[in-house]
Structure formats: structure tokens, C-alpha cells
């Protein structure tokens, strides 16, 4: 059964990628390291309580491991989880992590691909109250909560 499901998932992901890449840049999904991964419901539930549930391919396994080991001090806030949940999420993140090198401070927004993709966004745009932080993906990527960062769904708020 796991093999059949996995094959189906891969086929579905491939079809989705083929459909959505029409008219978009070829490197749209490149930063994710692989085809878009359906988010683990528990990961979505816990992480999206405070921010977008970032696609696991946006950071390498080493970064995810450090972040998951340091949840009580997570970028200035206590994001601690119970041991069982931490383990479940860590395992899933490790299995679906990206392949690029770890960015400074394990911040997605400090990754070279992120800076390159956003090099046309001015400092003043980032500072708008409606955006607030480069980590606030959903401010412009209207389908970020579904793990969809396709350029067609970007709307930069005033």
C-alpha cells in the first residue's frame, strides 16, 4: 500500500507541476529542491499558528534539525512543542528537506536563492505595514498557505 500511494502522489505532483508551470519561470519550484510536497497536517496545524507553514524544501535537513532542536528559543519566541510532536515533525522535515546549503541563522529569507528571487523588491516595499517582514510570505504570495509560490499568484499590497 505505501508504494502504491507514493507512486500516486508522485504522479499527481508531476501532473500538477506540468499544469502549473505553464507561463511561469522555469526556476519557480527550483528553490524547493524537488516537486512540491503536500504538507503534513500536523506540521501545517502547529507551524501556521504563527506564520506560513514554509515548504520543507526551502531549508536543508541540517537547518530543520537545528530549528526543531531549538523551538523553546525560536527567533525570539517560545515555540516549544511536546516531545512526540517535535519528533513527528522533525522526521517529516528531514525526509522532505531541500538540498541547498544552510543559510545564515537558518533563515529562509537569508538564502541566496531567496535574495535573488526578491532582488527587485525595494527596501521601502518590505517596510510597508501590510508586509512587515520578508518572512510574511502570504502578504504577497496569495497561495503561500497552500505551498504555492507561483508568480501568477503574487499580489503586492499597497
Amino acid at each position: 500500500m505505501p508504494i502504491t500511494l507514493r507512486t500516486l502522489n508522485l504522479a499527481a505532483a508531476g501532473l500538477l507541476l506540468a499544469l502549473t508551470s505553464f507561463g511561469a519561470h522555469a526556476d519557480d519550484d527550483e528553490h524547493e529542491g524537488r516537486a512540491r510536497v503536500p504538507l503534513l497536517p500536523k506540521y501545517q496545524q502547529e507551524c501556521s499558528a504563527c506564520h506560513v507553514a514554509y515548504p520543507p524544501g526551502m531549508l536543508p535537513a541540517a537547518s530543520w534539525q537545528r530549528l526543531m532542536n531549538g523551538l523553546p528559543k525560536h527567533f525570539g519566541t517560545d515555540a516549544s512543542l511536546d516531545a512526540a510532536t517535535t519528533k513527528t515533525l522533525s522526521t517529516w522535515l528531514a525526509a522532505n528537506a531541500g538540498s541547498r546549503s544552510a543559510p545564515p541563522q537558518d533563515r529562509i529569507t537569508q538564502s541566496s536563492w531567496f535574495l535573488h528571487e526578491h532582488d527587485e523588491v525595494s527596501t521601502r516595499t518590505w517596510q510597508r505595514a501590510s508586509i512587515k517582514s520578508p518572512a510574511n510570505c502570504a502578504a504577497c504570495h496569495t497561495r503561500a498557505d497552500q505551498g504555492d509560490f507561483n508568480e501568477r499568484f503574487i499580489r503586492i499590497p499597497r
Binding site: 506564520h51 525570539g76 517560545d78 512587515k132
Partner: protein, 161 residues
Amino acid sequence: MMPTFPSSLHRLRLITGRIAGCITASLTTPHTGLVASLVTACCLPLAAHAQTGTPAQLLATYSQQAGTRPDASKGQQFFTSKHGREWACASCHGTKPTGEGQHAATGRSIRPLAPAFNPERFTDTAKTEKWFRRNCNDVVGRECTPAERADVLAWLLTLKP
């Protein structure tokens, strides 16, 4: 798609199987000693994992732990003040948490905290404990005492539409 269970023991390990397991065991097992041990094994862990209740029941628990009567005005004061750190509870939840709040760091919207405006609040014990632990650590730098929890919850329960 229903999973198949290789043995009844395996079935009992799954939370969803525990309730069914308890009932089946009590109905079909002739040995009362075994029934008692099965009920203890499968039902007690379930109760510990999925505690639910009302905000009023939780307030009663905190008050009992504190050994004092809850004070809603002290709760409001605690909620809206800083405690030697960068944030107050109100920094994210708003000074009157009857509407949407906004995460002070990420900007993500936060649903109302007052139970009259969001009936889901303070009904899931594990969730309540998780957020008190994290947020008190961020705001106060330690766990909140039962008296502080009781005061804040008492104040939140006074907020009505």
C-alpha cells in the same frame, strides 16, 4: 480506506481503536480481572490525551490550585501590562481581545481570545497548556501562576458581545 489490524493488541495501540477496544473487551471478555486491566490500559491514557471542558471549569480548577478567588480587574491589568520584557499579552491579542489580534513578530492574524467571541477557546486542555507555557515564557519570562491564570481567564469571561 480502513487499515487492517494484524492483532487486537495492535488495534488497542491506536487511539481511535481504544474506545472500540474498551467497549468490545468489556462486552466479550469473561474474566473480570482482564476487563479491569484492559479498561485501565486503554481508557486512562485516552482521557489524559484528549481532555476537554468549558472555560468555566478551567477557571474553577485554576482558582482551586491558587487557593484564592479570581480577580478580573487584576487579570485585565496583568494582560495589558508589560512584565519587564518586550511584549505584553495585549501586544498580540489586543488590549480588548474580543476581535482579531496580530502576531507582533510575523503579522499573522490571531482569532479572538475571549470565549464569548470564539467558543473554541479554553476548551482543549492540551492546547491551553501549550499556549500558557509559551506565551507566559515570552511575556513574563516564566510560567504563569494558577492565580495569574485564574485572574486573566476571569477577566476574559467578563467580555461579552
